[in-house]
Symmetry: C2
Subunit: 390 residues, 2 copies
């Protein structure tokens, strides 16, 4: 385990097919006025809204609703949320939905009582709220597994005007106080969204796994999570109401990105950087942008981290190593990843997401590049990767 680090995660998880029964007691410690944040209204059709309202009423909360949070929450929507939270002086934000809704709620929680330009401060300049500043506490009821937002400080907001989608990782004070994780709440999710969430989870793990050449417990944990996810994904795509598989997927998604497997690691995140630039230009589903570019990306950087890619093939995909060179083994690992992307029905080509040749240069320009995993890309390499992903 390299370096010095702190591990601390304050989010309390209520997991299981009766997890919502804990919601009322989870809400008790917080103030009377709750901002209920959700998306397009699917929670009204699948019963989740009713479960949540029952708990809110049971605890005598006053509820202010804020719906219509979109898949890639926008700065304009954030500004609306700030205003509503502030005008109503809410004590707590309850996010009911997937990662977008929770990401958005965190952004509202830090932006509501900040008088300046929140986008510029938190996202562009990547600052943190200072001690003493008012942050509205957030809780979550998860209806889609994938982003891990339920147990971390991450928040991604899209500035449509500037065509920028930027993520910020806030500290413990912004992380959800609790999250209700009922795998059955994910059953009614459209198939495509389930698959996007599965791939999102996989790539979160891979972004943390593909860096470093040391022996680190974090990488062994990452392998365990990947193996579990792959096994359960194969069940879930054919049988979406398989509780065992969906519960494993939900649990894996949470632990894939709650800081654990990144401890002692440098981490990569370039697939996300390219994917976020695609979303900013196309509004494509996050997880699909990542599956769309990952194979080309990993083929591109494979030779800079051959040992790790060979290990990925061997341990994660159970590919026999007998007599193969590391290079061949590594390549077979990426083949297995690609085959799995097609098998589960994630996007294998970004042209299917609306990316055209004409968009490639603007997307490359919107891609934030940094030193990360095994190789620092330059702009021309981003363009190559995008072209190979078409």
């Amino acid at each position: 385990m390299k370096g010095n680090f702190i591990y601390s995660n304050p989010t309390r998880l209520y997991f299981g097919d009766e997890a919502q029964k804990n919601l009322a007691s989870a809400l008790e410690g917080f103030g009377k006025k709750v901002l209920l944040v959700y998306g397009g209204g699917s929670i009204r059709r699948n019963g989740v809204y009713d479960d949540v309202m029952a708990a809110l009423h049971q605890t005598g909360k006053e509820v202010v609703e804020l719906s219509g949070v979109m898949p890639n929450p926008t700065l304009a929507k954030l500004n609306e949320g700030r205003r509503v939270a502030r005008e109503n002086n809410v004590d707590f934000i309850l996010a009911v939905g997937g990662g977008s809704t929770i990401d958005y709620s965190k952004a509202v929680s830090v932006a509501a009582w900040y008088d300046g330009d929140a986008w510029d401060r938190y996202f562009v300049r990547q600052e943190d709220p200072q001690p003493g500043e008012r942050i509205i506490p957030v809780g979550a009821v998860l209806t889609m597994a994938g982003t891990g937002s339920e147990m971390n400080g991450g928040s991604v907001i899209t500035n449509q005007e500037a065509k920028l989608k930027i993520g910020k990782v806030f500290g413990e004070e912004v992380m959800p106080k609790f999250a209700v994780l009922n795998p059955r709440y994910t059953f009614s999710l459209p198939h495509r969204q389930m698959v996007a969430g599965i791939f999102d989870t996989m790539i979160h793990i891979m972004e943390q796994y593909f860096s470093g050449d040391d022996d680190s417990t974090s990488d062994y944990l990452a392998e365990g999570l990947m193996r579990s996810l792959i096994a359960s994904s194969r069940v879930a795509v054919n049988d979406p109401e398989n509780y065992e598989a969906r519960s494993n997927i939900m649990w894996t998604a949470t632990w894939a990105l709650n800081t654990l497997i990144g401890k002692g690691k440098i981490q990569d995140w370039m697939v996300h950087m390219i994917g976020q630039a695609i979303s900013a230009h196309t509004d494509a589903t996050h997880g699909m942008t990542l599956s769309g570019v990952s194979v080309a990306y990993y083929r591109h950087v494979m030779n800079y981290g051959l040992d790790r890619f060979a290990r990925f093939a061997r341990v994660v995909w159970d590919i026999p190593s007998d007599g193969k060179s590391d290079s061949q083994l590594a390549s077979e690992g990426i083949d297995a990843l690609e085959a799995w992307i097609r098998e589960i029905g994630a996007a294998a080509e970004i042209s299917s997401l609306g990316v055209t040749e004409a968009l490639i240069e603007p997307i490359a320009d919107a891609t934030i590049i940094f030193d990360a995993g095994y190789h620092r890309l330059d702009r021309s390499e981003v363009i190559e990767i995008l072209r190979e992903s078409l």
Copy 2:
């Protein structure tokens, strides 16, 4: 992931070769009077005591020392600690040492202000402190990896008079507020104790892994931890000052028993039950009692959970499955475990720990038996296992 459960872990971990630099700030939120608990004085020789005292002085704490905590902390010592904590009205307990010291500190924290028979209440009757009762908060500076006590609610106390060693798992309110994990603090540990800690970690994982026939993410995480531990143990036994290996071992030990990999699991713990009965009769090192009986135990229950034992062989020990029956594969997995026990120098026979034929019946009588993993033992089977382990 079976069942409904809560995951919440309030312990803040400071990890790395400079982790102790966080101690002063970690102590800040707590009261002025600190009970400093430690064992036989090795921390005075290896510099840990000086680091800790520097932090205590820096924060202006008043220190009451309580040393001499033994490897299997006794009820008599607990009673001494209660008295000292109470007479000095301490605000905080800082445990500096391994699992025994931390276990002991938790017991003092709940027993100090309880007027009744703490042994009977917490250990025999397995009760919990009630809301409103005074619990003295505990923090830890870890000097030995293995028990996981630094991030859980576990506490094991031995009643020498009654020849009973009983563990109690307390809730979040008793768990350490923080733990300082500096792998270098474990470098000066005697070789035998390092090895005992490594095996203790391994068996913690196995006790949680060997139960159930469902597909659970917890088991994949367990496999990752076991693979990491095995790899690092092989480095550490030959090169105890290898920071990479010792840091992985320390991190693995913490995550092996902080509740994560037990989520959704029934768990076993029969190796511990037998091992604890041995310790109560011989005062043998905890980890060594576990290595001493585990091979015979697992051979005994293997056929009741053949799938899992075959998977253990394949995934944890990388044993090729080609053409083998599950039974053969499972058996080879236990062979690999046994070979590893000898390779790292853990106890392979309990006769080496002072167990004689004459002690077998008394130890069997002191063994607490419950429904757990793949098979419920009866007394005659415990005797068989003990005899095979001699």
